[in-house]
């Protein structure tokens, strides 16, 4: 019996592959097949489930720091890029 007959199981991908898929998983841009693979893995691998939990917290904490106190020069460089992109963006 192949994995395709039964749906993916936790061992169809390694922990390293699961971690590599996490950024796209969190963005919701994985193909249905890849999403099924990582979810099967996360369902049985406590280490990867914990890793994902920590990444989610990292994203939440980073989202809460506010940009006021970031290095002003680096922030200004980004703002320049942003303004240029906004000005030159294709009309939608």
């Amino acid at each position: 019996m192949t994995a395709r007959d039964t749906g993916p199981d936790a061992h169809d991908i390694t922990c390293r592959q699961a971690v590599a898929l996490m950024t796209d998983y969190l963005d919701g841009v994985l193909s249905p097949d890849d999403r099924a693979l990582i979810e099967a893995h996360l369902g049985e691998c406590e280490g990867c489930a914990e890793h994902l939990r920590q990444i989610r917290i990292t994203v939440a904490v980073t989202g809460g720091i506010g940009d006021e106190d970031l290095d002003p020069a680096a922030r200004e460089d980004l703002m320049d890029l942003y303004r240029r992109w906004w000005r030159d963006r294709p009309a939608s």
Partner: protein
């Protein structure tokens, strides 16, 4: 709202990232922009953006783990 000490530490970790990682994580996670906009602003591919974001988050996570934040 994030505890002030934790926010200060994460802000410092963001600033210590290599420049490309710092730019991506600032636009994606601090400013909350979607990946397509970030690719346009920085002039990078989706794949490159994903790798940089992944590395940035992984490095911040690892530091927080080493500092026993979890």
């Amino acid at each position: 709202m994030v505890a002030p000490e934790l926010a200060a530490r994460v802000r410092q970790l963001v600033e210590e990232l290599p420049p490309a990682q710092r730019q991506v994580v600032t636009l994606r996670d601090v400013e909350g922009l979607p990946s397509a906009d970030v690719c346009g602003i920085l002039g990078i591919s989706e794949g490159n953006q994903r790798v940089l974001l992944h590395r940035a988050r992984a490095r911040i996570r690892r530091h927080l783990e080493q500092e026993a934040v979890w």
